[in-house]
């Protein structure tokens, strides 16, 4: 349906929206302007950059998938079940957001490190140590990114009309079927938003990753780590690397979101 009068954004919305765009986009423009573009070509062909970029994308995507698999059910439990202590749980889940990522990395060691609560048992029985592996990158990014998904999906679930779930129940759908076939599609835009947030957060993750996974080119060195190192020696290179990361994520988001949101429901 065409919705008329759409061009007309009211001024009290337009002015802050323009300010917001300026505020978020101008710094990027600044970076683009300042970047030593002449270096760009030579930098892009460096195999280390390609490696780091590939690793970043793979790890962030895996972390997002893991966040979806674990986080969407958690959001559902927070929004829909009548468990006691839900509000405490909700706050607890939010809290990792506040943790300085480096401390988050330390905390991950305490659980999943070779001497950690779970990790020591794992190490003793299988000889497998998680830290300093590519898997550790994914775990660190998931730890940092999942709360974003949980909180935004929970918000979407709360806003969704629960009566459709009643209707599904009268049609014989158990809660799981209802979840899959009704709830999930209805909150698809919220999940998409949450996934974008998680992915972006995971892609930009630095502190927890460098702590928990280390900084090994090819295995655990993601773009933000590469940027960090570049900052040590050649800040301009760091800017170029950041812009590469930005460009790739911009392209990905443009491709992905439009396709995803295209499928979402418009009531």
């Amino acid at each position: 349906m065409r919705r008329p009068g759409d061009g007309g954004v009211p001024a009290p919305l337009l002015v802050p929206a323009v300010l917001a765009v300026a505020f978020l986009v101008l710094p990027l423009v600044g970076l683009v302007v300042r970047a030593p573009w002449s270096d760009l070509g030579s930098r892009l062909v460096e195999p280390a950059v390609g490696q780091a970029l590939r690793l970043s994308l793979v790890a962030a995507t895996l972390a997002t998938l893991l966040s979806l698999v674990l986080g969407v059910p958690l959001a559902w439990v927070l929004a829909r079940s009548r468990m006691p202590g839900r509000s405490v749980l909700r706050a607890l889940v939010t809290v990792p957001l506040v943790l300085p990522p480096v401390v988050g990395g330390v905390a991950l060691f305490l659980v999943l490190g070779r001497q950690g609560i779970v990790g020591s048992w794992l190490y003793e029985t299988t000889g497998y140590a998680l830290p300093f592996t590519t898997a550790a990158v994914v775990v660190a990014e998931t730890f940092v990114a999942m709360p974003f998904l949980v909180i935004s999906v929970e918000g979407a679930l709360r806003a969704a009309d629960a009566r459709f779930e009643d209707a599904a129940a009268t049609l014989g759908a158990d809660r799981w079927t209802t979840f899959r076939r009704v709830t999930l599609p209805l909150v698809a835009p919220g999940i998409a938003a949450g996934a974008v947030l998680s992915w972006a957060r995971a892609l930009g993750e630095f502190g927890a990753t460098i702590t928990f996974a280390g900084n090994f080119p090819g295995t655990t060195q993601t773009m933000p780590l590469a940027v960090y190192l570049a900052l040590q020696s050649d800040p301009e290179a760091a800017i170029v690397l950041s812009l590469v990361l930005l460009a790739v994520s911009l392209a990905t988001l443009l491709l992905l979101r439009d396709r995803w949101l295209g499928r979402a429901v418009t009531t």
């Binding site: 009566r163 459709f164 009643d166 209707a167 599904a168 129940a169 009268t170 049609l171 014989g172 759908a173 158990d174 809660r175 079927t177 209802t178 076939r181 009704v182 599609p185 209805l186 698809a188 429901v265 418009t266 009531t267």
Partner: protein
């Protein structure tokens, strides 16, 4: 399959306390004014709302009782039409109708075929691919009806399933529903505001007012002997509660009505609107019941005009369009109404 329920539930100040039993293959119509608690009863029967007390039994299976038994909605084998349809906005009409079959494990292709068949039966054969947002109000209601009927559930709960249909579609869908219900072996509860629906579809009628049952019986019984003003108006009669003594009834609202037989004690005097004659001046003649009244509103109704009258004895009169035109009445006009005593039916309260 028998549905047997007794339930009490608090709903925003109103206490709904209802008992009902629907035998195998029977259709129970629930009638009642807005806010009487009809939808509330359906929600309880569906398991979407827990009552405060009572029990819900289907076919001997306890679905809910105060002791803690609660079979959730999805295990009750229901077919339900919600008053506001609640079609899934992200699914096409066919997918909506097939939803219940799929949820109960039918393979996709078979479910879609069955859904398409039902959409056809409600006249939506060519709109199966539409999303609910792309259907008109009446089309959406028919899709909701098809969705409720398709699975051959044990219990059918239909909340005003025909209210948005146009007159012609209503006829055909009602006929379709009638055909289906005639063969249907479960219990069906139909909430409706249309007495024609109730008469055409239901074997028994339950009238709910203010959360309680005020009358129950076959449609004919209820129509013949209405026990509340609501029912009387529903079936197009005027109901005047009063106290009989001899051949006259002293009305509760004031005034008396002369009747043909001797009556005593609390009774209802029932007057058919067709039996009320209107005059511009006080008629001199045999009818013993003559009242000066005021015309409140006049609405054409087929070939007659239905006149609502206010005064000592509030009446409704049906007069032919011709005579109405001859009387030259306008709302607010003063008229005389007369009813022959032999036209007043009386039944005890």
């Amino acid at each position: 399959m028998t549905l047997d329920a007794r339930l009490t539930v608090q709903r925003g100040g109103l206490t709904v306390a209802v008992e009902l039993a629907v035998a195998d293959g029977e259709v129970l119509a629930v009638l009642g004014p807005n806010g009487a608690g009809k939808s509330t009863v359906l929600r309880v029967l569906a398991g979407l709302l827990r009552p405060d007390a009572g029990r819900v039994v289907v076919d001997g299976d306890q679905l809910w009782d105060a002791a803690g038994v609660h079979v959730p909605a999805h295990r009750r084998s229901l077919g339900m039409v919600f008053q506001d349809h609640l079609l899934f906005p992200h699914l096409s009409a066919t997918e909506n109708v097939a939803f219940g079959l799929r949820a109960r494990g039918m393979p996709r292709a078979r479910a879609r075929a069955a859904a398409a068949g039902w959409l056809d039966r409600v006249g939506l054969g060519d709109l199966g691919e539409r999303r609910p947002g792309q259907l008109s109000g009446g089309q959406a209601q028919r899709a909701a009806l098809a969705r409720a009927l398709v699975g051959d559930p044990r219990v059918l709960l239909l909340d005003e399933p025909l209210s948005s249909l146009d007159a012609r579609t209503r006829l055909t869908v009602r006929a379709e529903l009638h055909r289906h219900l005639a063969e249907y072996r479960g219990s069906a509860v139909l909430v409706t505001h249309d007495p024609v629906d109730a008469m055409a579809l239901a074997g028994r009628v339950l009238v709910v007012e203010d959360g309680r049952i005020v009358q129950a019986g076959t449609p004919a019984e209820v129509a013949r002997r209405p026990r509340t003003d609501y029912v009387a108006r529903l079936v197009g009669l005027v109901l005047l509660p009063g106290t009989g003594s001899g051949t006259s009834v002293a009305l509760e609202g004031g005034g008396t009505v002369a009747v043909a037989e001797e009556v005593t004690g609390p009774v209802f005097a029932v007057i058919r609107p067709e039996s009320v004659a209107l005059y511009l001046e006080r008629p001199a003649g045999s009818p013993r019941n003559v009242w000066p009244l005021r015309l409140v509103s006049a609405t054409p109704h087929g070939s007659v005009v239905r006149c609502d009258l206010a005064g000592e004895v509030p009446l409704t009169a049906d007069v032919t369009a011709t005579s109405f035109a001859e009387l030259g009445l306008a709302p607010g006009a003063a008229v005389w109404a007369s009813v022959k005593a032999s036209e007043v039916a009386v039944h005890t309260r």
